[in-house]
């Protein structure tokens, strides 16, 4: 009896003590509820035949019919293939380039020069993808582009109508992605390399190891855990793509969809331009679900390799 009242009293006291802290949580949690949790209920839209007159929540349930339609189209295969292949290329090439840049930067003795290079290669990361699409347009425009007007004539080649030739876009988009992101992702590796104990290198030098040998036998193994972790994180996000890159840079050009349409652009066009909410929400649901599974699996793999690096 007395213990319960005591416990109750202390609980009340602890509530009063912590009340201000709980109040602080309110705006942030409310935001997450609206922005992240409420939409989870909206995933149900994928199983409905949306009719604005009936309202979203009163529209008829149609089971898996949206998914049946989606997977009957050739689009489903196309957008899945594009999303996976682009992301795979981005992970492999992006990591390779970032590691290479980080190693080169760490080799440069002149501190000022190294800082300057680092600042410059970070520039593309700072601008919006809209501005990137302007820059790409300045390069590729049919009539006024730098390539068609200044580069191809020098090489004796005919101008190319870049915005209606799908076959070039896998290379263009990969190049743009690397251009924009490499400077940023090399920071992580640079930090890892700077953190390596210099004694390793001194010992290697005493043993007469060449620079190349030192990179292969010391630097690379020391940063391998970071590389593995980033690869797995990348695989966890392989079902999501950079919407801006695939929508803005090819300028939403219909002629290029074969090589530029990914899940995110498909969902967006379905919702905003075609008004095909059923198809769009089914594709979105498919992305959320497979994406979630991939995050869990890749985290599980990271966890078995190295518990420290796992997200959870």
């Amino acid at each position: 009896m007395t213990t319960t009242t005591l416990a109750r009293r202390s609980k009340r006291r602890s509530l009063r003590r912590f009340l201000p802290l709980y109040l602080m949580l309110v705006p942030g949690l409310a935001y997450l509820a609206v922005n992240n949790y409420l939409p989870l209920f909206g995933l149900a839209i994928a199983f409905k035949d949306i009719n604005y007159r009936k309202g979203i929540w009163n529209s008829d349930w149609i089971g898996f019919r949206n998914f049946e339609y989606l997977f009957k189209t050739s689009d489903a295969w196309l957008i899945t293939r594009n999303t996976l292949l682009y992301n795979a290329a981005f992970i492999v090439l992006g990591l390779a380039l970032a590691v290479a840049i980080a190693i080169l930067l760490s080799e440069i003795r002149n501190r000022f020069a190294s800082r300057l290079y680092q600042s410059i290669i970070l520039l593309p990361f700072l601008i919006s993808i809209i501005l990137v699409s302007y820059l790409v347009y300045a390069m590729l425009s049919m009539d006024t582009g730098f390539l068609n007007k200044s580069v191809l004539p020098v090489l004796g080649l005919d101008p190319i109508d870049w915005y209606s030739e799908p076959k070039y876009w896998p290379f263009i988009l990969t190049a743009v992605h690397l251009w924009k992101g490499a400077g940023y992702s090399c920071i992580v590796f640079l930090a890892a390399i700077v953190g390596i104990d210099p004694e390793y290198y001194e010992a290697a030098k005493l043993d007469g190891a060449s620079k190349w040998m030192q990179i292969r036998k010391i630097t690379m193994p020391m940063i391998t855990p970071v590389v593995i972790m980033l690869t797995l994180l990348g695989i966890g996000r392989i079902f999501y793509s950079d919407f801006g890159l695939f929508y803005q840079v090819p300028m939403n050009s219909g002629a290029l969809f074969e090589t530029t349409n990914v899940i995110d652009t498909y969902v967006f066009r379905g919702l905003m331009q075609l008004g095909d909410i059923g198809m769009s929400s089914a594709a979105g649901f498919y992305q959320s679900l497979v994406g979630f599974v991939l995050v869990l699996v890749s985290n599980y793999v990271v966890r078995t390799i190295n518990k420290e690096n796992a997200l959870f």
Partner: protein, 294 residues
């Protein structure tokens, strides 16, 4: 040995110079195009060494375009308000989560963390904001959806609070009779300037560069940010060029000229380039500031 070292230095410098040039060249091209004579562009295309210079595009910009400056104003307003609101909401959530003694803080941290793993995606989020909260064509649409706060920043900040602010400091504040809000405002925030600067910078950049919310939620040109105006101009041109055969050549001619477009793009880039040296160091800090754990 020395010979080898020299060779390495040279190679490294050479490669980095080439890469730096590749990063700067498109910006130069953009800038040169904006100060090129309109006719020269039509003849020679975009080039680094234009045959005729002209500041016509900037003069035109200065005289004509109320809309551009209006959009600039929207961008500045959204960036300032958004960044401050974001820092406030994020830190208000992160601070209690960093307090081990708070009952339920583990569960709450998981609620934050889960949002990083699973999300509803575009369609449900769009429906929530337009059908439930009627955010379409309001200024809030540029501030709130997706951008205001994210779980990653909350967990980053929580880790910073719990690792760098000694609990003895918080205890002594509490003994001196400071309430939790006072402690948060007077002690926790001032001690956390590095993380506030880092996250503030990323949020500011995010708001300044955002075009997605405008594209999804805004159809009223009065609410267009600079990025949305740029986006609109480009897609109009794309639309007209794609349908060129249908005799829209005239409509195309009435659009802002090539140099004018590039001039708007330049004034969109310049503020970032000017601010860059001041926030650059926080990039490196932000990437290395400590692990995020669920």
């Amino acid at each position: 040995m020395d010979q080898e070292n020299k060779a390495w230095q040279w190679t490294a410098h050479l490669v980095m110079i080439v890469l730096s040039a590749a990063c700067v060249l498109p910006f130069l091209l953009l800038f040169m195009a904006s100060v090129t004579d309109e006719k020269a562009i039509v003849n020679d295309g975009y080039t680094l060494f234009p045959s005729a210079f002209s500041l016509g595009a900037y003069e035109y910009l200065w005289k004509q375009s109320g809309q551009i400056f209006h959009a600039y104003g929207i961008t500045v307003l959204v960036t300032a308000v958004g960044t401050l609101a974001s820092l406030l909401v994020t830190s208000l959530l992160a601070y209690p989560l960093s307090r081990r003694d708070l009952p339920g803080s583990q569960t709450l941290a998981f609620i934050v963390f889960f949002t990083l793993l699973f999300n509803g995606g575009l369609v449900p989020t769009y429906m929530v904001y337009t059908q439930v909260f009627h955010l379409k064509n309001t200024l809030f649409a540029l501030l709130i959806p997706w951008l205001l706060m994210n779980g990653f920043n909350v967990l980053l900040m929580r880790t910073f609070f719990s690792t760098t602010i000694p609990s003895a400091v918080l205890e002594s504040a509490s003994i001196d009779g400071a309430g939790e809000f006072r402690t948060y405002w007077r002690i926790v925030l001032p001690l956390s300037l590095p993380i506030l600067a880092t996250i503030g910078m990323f949020q500011g950049l995010g708001y300044w560069n955002d075009w997605n919310n405008g594209l999804v939620f805004v159809t009223n040109p009065d609410l267009y940010s600079l990025q949305n105006v740029l986006n609109r101009i480009m897609s109009d041109i794309q639309f007209l060029t794609a349908n060129n055969r249908m005799g829209t050549g005239q409509a195309l001619a009435q659009l802002p000229g090539e140099t004018f477009r590039m001039a708007i793009a330049v004034i969109g880039v310049v503020p970032i380039l000017v601010a860059y040296p001041f926030f650059q160091k926080y990039f490196v800090k932000g990437m290395t500031i400590g692990a995020v754990k669920g």
